[in-house]
């Protein structure tokens, strides 16, 4: 609703309340939510999804930036996608470094 109204404070509150509710729900749940198979499936699917996602947005971003003379209104979208791809790589290397030390 805040997004449709164009107001920032309710949006922040919604995110905060959602995160808190999710945390409280997980903390109070005692039953097994994940078994080893599900974790393995989740990890494998995350890996392939991340690779495909990174490649796709990189190519789409590159195309949109390249076509800046023909479609200048989509250049910003292209840069957003390209920066998202850089963000993925940055995040991935941070987490890779973390798990490399952990295991």
């Amino acid at each position: 609703m805040s997004v449709s109204l164009g107001a920032i404070i309710p949006a922040f509150l919604a995110i905060l309340i959602g995160a808190m509710l999710s945390y409280v729900y997980k903390k109070n749940t005692k039953e097994v939510l994940y078994d080893e198979r599900m974790v393995k499936i989740s990890e494998k699917s995350s890996r392939i999804a991340m690779i495909l996602f990174a490649i796709s947005i990189t190519f789409i971003g590159l195309f949109l930036i390249t076509l800046k003379d023909l479609y200048p209104e989509f250049t910003q979208v292209g840069f957003t996608l390209a920066f998202s791809a850089i963000g993925i790589l940055g995040l991935y290397y941070v987490f890779y470094g973390y798990y490399n030390r952990k295991y």
């Binding site: 920032i8 949006a11 499936i41 890996r47 991340m50 979208v77 993925i88």
Partner: protein, 155 residues
């Protein structure tokens, strides 16, 4: 005389084989990769879609070569088949890092998208970015759900 001709034929086919093997060598593939990267950068700087299409075609060709020689990649890039590229530990680290990256990325993209879209009255020039981030998040979720369905059936 006949023996000399046969020896010449053999040496010629040897040269041809050597030239063909050069195309499958690690150095050649690395050079092509660098060239393709150069094409990407040139295409973006010049804003020329044909350069990008050429890079994409070359990349597809390279992908086909790597796919065909998928079982020989270690020899191609390392020259030694005994070199271990990925063991169980690195696989585990890769998978865990990917899971965390994807989770954090989707959350951040949705949050930033919400914030930018909510601020569209103050900063209308960024409204496209907000919508793009929403679409990107949905695309990422679709990819993840598809992969999850595939692996749930596989295991």
């Amino acid at each position: 005389m006949k023996i000399i001709t046969e020896v010449n034929d053999m040496s010629e086919s040897g040269v041809v084989l050597k030239i063909l093997s050069l195309f499958e060598s690690g150095l050649f593939i690395k050079i092509v990769s660098v060239f393709i990267t150069g094409l990407w950068i040139t295409g973006i700087i010049l804003g020329n879609i044909y350069v990008i299409i050429l890079a994409l075609l070359l990349l597809t060709g390279l992908g086909v070569v790597l796919y065909i020689h998928g079982d020989k990649l270690k020899e191609i890039f390392y020259g030694d088949g005994s070199v271990i590229v990925e063991d169980e530990r690195t696989q585990l680290i890769n998978e865990k890092a990917s899971t965390m990256t994807l989770g954090v990325l989707i959350a951040v993209i949705i949050w930033v998208g919400i914030v930018i879209t909510a601020l569209r009255t103050s900063y209308p020039q960024y409204s496209y970015v907000g919508y793009t981030l929403f679409v990107v998040a949905i695309f990422c979720l679709i990819l993840y759900i598809s992969a999850r369905t595939y692996y749930a059936r596989k295991f």
